[in-house]
Amino acid sequence: MEIWRLPISASQRGKLISAGYTSLSSLSSISSSSDLARELKVSESEAMNILKVASHSRGSETSNASCSIVEGAQSAWDMLHDEESLMHITTSSADLDNILGGGIHCKEVTEIGWSSLSLIVNSVLKYKLTTAFGSESIIFMLIGGVPGIGKTQLGIQIAVNVQIPNDFGGLGGKAVYIDTEGSFMVERAFQIAEACIEDMSEYNRFLRKDFQECKIKMLPQDILENIFYFRICSYTEQIALINYLDKFLSEHKDVDMSLWSQVKVIVVDSVTFHFRQDFDDMALRTRVLSGMALKLMNLAKRFSLAVVLLNQVTTKHTEASFQLALALGDSWSHTCTNRIVLYWNGNERYAYIDKSPSLRSASAAYSVTARGIRNSSSSCKRIKMM
């Protein structure tokens, strides 16, 4: 290992190199810090520090002899493998799931026929993406759209769907729902949960002949109970909560799978609201927001969970005309690995993948029904023909 890799100051590094110490092993011959101090013309404590750092780096180098620069690195092959084993949360709209990178996964589903099942759980969706953080694939997405387009509906749907048991191709996890706008309505969540359970039992009946045996034991109440709901009234609360989540998630871990948390998704509805007032210092706002995004990303990685952030849209004044843009500025949008924009096209709601490292840009129609997010009725027919 070369000297320039040591985490010491540039001037110390310069002095070491000009004194002829180019590699770690050359430093190992030095016995006392005072010798080094004399040679480099630095204080004794400084020299001591250099030696400490050097011996520490040497230690880690030997212990990790087999590989590479960074501890815990993985080959791309391994990462792909990990990614494919990842679980996915359905949005309940097969089309939407489709553009989110899944395609229709389950043969059973297609065989039975779409009319009743296009809605169903198993129409698998994978939004999987790797991040620069390495080893683990995490899901970090930002969803934006005008008021009334269905952001909150999608948020609630995801919080419900994450609980679909493993037997039904779900994750069997729990959800953290952070509500900053007060738009989460319990009665609506109950409705969506009820419909989700109904869909599951219908699916069950198709799949297994013996209906009695595998009746769904889940109740809408159970689903509501597994959504950890936090209502936030200011941005300081929001930051505090996200700092606290680490502890909260550690306390809600699975007993048998030490590394995996029971919570499989964090929905923030919306990240934006409290940051659109009181901030005169935009640079400060950007820093605070990126700090928050970084923390969420770390949570996603540490606990293998998905983070879904809902964002508002705003008008941007460019060249004397107004355009629609996601709120909170560009640097914030860069932080998010996936960005989905919801918009109206004629009389239909559409979702468009605006940015993603692994998904093609595509759009799909969806609709908001009494039962939750579903395929839009016109595209349902299209899929049926396939």
Partner: protein
């Protein structure tokens, strides 16, 4: 910080005083949430506000909140006469809930608001006011009629001013939501409309919510205060008013002469709401108040 249990969290509603409208709204105006009514002047915004502040006093078993209300008005003068009129019919139809000498108007606190800063100042005072009113009949409803009047004159149409304006929206909205959450209040806000002129719709023609475009009195309109404010409310309702010409056969004469009678057609639409599907309902305004019409 502990998560709230959704099983104990029930969204209470405040009845509008009309079963048909209540059915459309799944019980009325929800607590811990901001509901906005958008309409041109003379459509019945204020009527609904007045009626709601009376019906909030009904016991919970009758769909009310058993509470008094705070009525912030920005448009002058406050319609005391109409409130009194509504109050009389409200009392006569709900006499058994109130003592003989009781006047429901006593439980509507009216405050005038002149500017946006004034509104913020009042809201900071509202906190202790509601706290102190707890031992009497608590305040569980805030009405702001209308929010648009505060913003339509004070700001220039420059990017800097618009930014300052939208920052104020978010400040007001988050303070209102904090109040609503703390005291479990229902908040009803009214908003005006602006006309959309010309083929070039621009940003005002942007579709928000269930309706492709809003029509009232034969014109195409959009809610005032723009997209920023639309992000600040949880639910938005729209009232339209149209004059319909109905041909009425005059039966007194030999049945050949026809009278053309103009009839006001009022309709309430759900533009967006987290808990309501796209729906609409006709309504009419009578001496006794606002009532839905079933067809």
């Amino acid at each position: 910080m502990t998560p709230q249990s959704l099983l104990q969290l029930t969204s209470q509603k405040c009845t509008t005083g009309c079963p048909i409208l209540d059915r459309l709204l799944y019980g009325g105006i929800p607590c811990d949430s901001i509901t906005e009514i958008v309409a041109e002047s003379g459509s019945g915004k204020t009527q609904i506000c007045l009626q709601l502040s009376l019906h909030a006093q009904l016991p919970v078993s009758h769909g009310g909140l058993a509470a008094s209300s705070l009525y912030l008005h920005t448009e002058f003068p406050f319609p005391f006469r109409r409130l009194h009129q509504l109050c009389l019919s409200f009392r006569s139809s709900n006499a058994h809930h109130f003592p003989v000498n009781d006047n429901p108007c006593d439980r509507i606190f009216v405050q005038s608001v002149h500017t946006a800063d004034h509104l913020l100042e009042i809201m900071s005072k509202t906190d202790p006011f509601i706290e102190n009113s707890k031992n009497q009949v608590p305040v569980r409803l805030i009405v702001i009629d209308s929010i648009a009047a505060l913003f339509r004159s004070d700001f220039d149409n420059t990017p800097v001013e618009l930014k300052r304006r939208s920052s104020l929206f978010f400040e007001i909205s988050s303070k209102l939501k904090a109040l609503a959450k703390r005291f479990n209040l229902a908040v009803l806000v009214t908003n005006q409309v602006v006309d959309l002129v010309g083929p070039n719709e621009g940003i005002n023609g942007l579709r928000i919510g269930n309706l492709v475009c809003l029509h009232t009195s034969g014109r195409r309109v959009c809610p005032a205060l723009g997209l920023a404010w639309a992000n600040c409310v949880n639910s938005r309702l729209f009232l339209s008013r149209n004059e319909e010409v109905i041909r009425e056969e005059n039966e007194k004469s030999n049945g050949q002469s026809c009278d053309f009678v103009k009839k006001k057609m009022r309709k309430l639409y759900v533009v967006f709401a987290p808990h309501l599907p796209e729906s609409s309902c006709e309504f009419e305004i009578t001496r006794e108040g606002v009532f839905g019409v079933e067809r």
